[in-house]
Amino acid sequence: MSAAVEVRKLSYQYPQHGRLALDQVSFSVGEEECIGVLGPNGAGKSTLLLHLNGLLPEHVAPAPSIWIGGEPIGPKNLDLVRQRVGLLFQDPDDQLISATVLEDVAFGPRQLGVEGAILKALVGQCLDQVGLSGFEDRQPHRLSHGEKRRVCLAGVLACKPSVLVLDEPTSDLDPRGRREFKALLQSLPGAKIIATHDLELVVDLCSRVIVLDEGKLVAEGATRALLSNEELMLAHGLEKPHSLMHRHPHGPASPVS
């Protein structure tokens, strides 16, 4: 069985300033696996995620370096790739483009030719899945940040992707919003790739992490083992998550040496 996502020697140079944003990155993600993508700001995390959806490079590279479910990303199958890979953007306002929630969740399926009652049912089902039943007629600018994010997720789920790619899914959420969003993500099937600074989220959701720094993949491994490596964490602008510092969740915190 082929991996859900396979990345081999992916490099990318920004045409505007010539900076190498990704440098020979390789990794793979299994069918039901959830992996975390860590790294300091500007490490190339978002650039990597855009590649997974075929949004970058601007002109498709001659030789493929990414495979989605065994299918190489190329100019011919971009539509298929974009349907299979659901990408949740960091700022929900970038993604929510329609005047109502209904219209917005329907945006993706409409491109796939879904119309009428089926579309309506699908939208209702997706909103239900993210815990926002009955929000169809609400206007995006009247939603809370957490609600906007959920509507975005519903819009992504409506395309029935097999891989979810999430860019900072918990940034700007309050603790309750984070907790609820985390539970929501946990409940969703399929492969997930989460780029985030929220290490607690990674500890709870991801079985494996990869660490990017300056476009290079500098570490890859099981979440707990890798995040406990304090030296590695500090070297790449990260830190050991709080939950891995104590033996018992409610015991006294061990001092950082």
Binding site: D79, R82, G86, L87, Q95, I97, A99, G108, Q111, H141
Partner: protein, 201 residues
């Protein structure tokens, strides 16, 4: 209370009426008013009574109507006063004044009861050019976002403004607007990517 916040007065009886009907009615009343003779005339009572009869069904508060009419009055009076400077000008002056106010009032009733997205739907049905429809829809969606962004930038700027010079204020306003444009361009790019990610072609 404002047209952008239409959900708040969505319960007016006319808010539920077909938006096409409302648009056509407003267009009809306004065209009729504009075509009436250019001197105060008994016929002016037709649009006036129609509007007065419609008003209760729109539940538009008196204060709002007065406030908006007063705002519009600045311009209306300006032009009307210009028309006074000619012989025998009174009929034209008064007729312009009455006509304009009647028309503004019908537009107020229309916008009060008709959310802009319904107007968009109507325009779509009328086969308005697709590019314009997309632009209008995106504009409507991002007005609050950009408004909020402008407000945040102005606030941040104000918190660091200690001296008041007029040209300095102009320059800092220009910086805010320039920055707003840059952010809009960046956001447009991200929106494009997000639309593509969901299969837009």
């Amino acid at each position: 209370m404002h047209p952008l916040e239409l959900e708040s007065h969505g319960r007016a009886p006319l808010a539920g009426a077909s938006s096409r009907l409302k648009l056509l009615a407003a267009l009809g009343i306004i065209t009729l008013t504009a075509l009436l003779p250019r001197r105060p005339h008994i016929l002016y009572l037709i649009p006036a009574t129609t509007l007065l009869l419609l008003w209760p069904f729109c539940r538009m508060p008196l204060g709002y109507a007065v406030r908006r009419l007063l705002v519009a009055e600045m311009f209306i009076l300006g032009i009307a006063l210009l028309s006074l400077v000619r012989p025998a000008a009174a009929p034209i002056f008064f007729s312009s004044l009455i006509k304009s106010n009647l028309c503004v009032f019908s537009m107020l009733l229309l916008t009060w009861t008709t959310p802009f997205q319904d107007v968009l739907q109507e325009l779509r049905r009328l086969r308005f050019p697709a590019v314009m429809l997309t632009t209008l829809a995106l504009m409507y969606r991002y007005l609050p976002v950009l408004g909020e962004e402008t407000r945040r930038m102005s606030r941040a700027r104000a918190s660091r403004t200690f001296a008041r010079r007029r040209l300095g204020t102009w320059q800092s306003l220009a910086l805010i607007i320039g920055q707003l444009f840059i952010r809009s361009a960046d956001r447009a790019e991200r929106i494009y990517l997000a639309m593509c990610a969901r299969g837009w072609k």
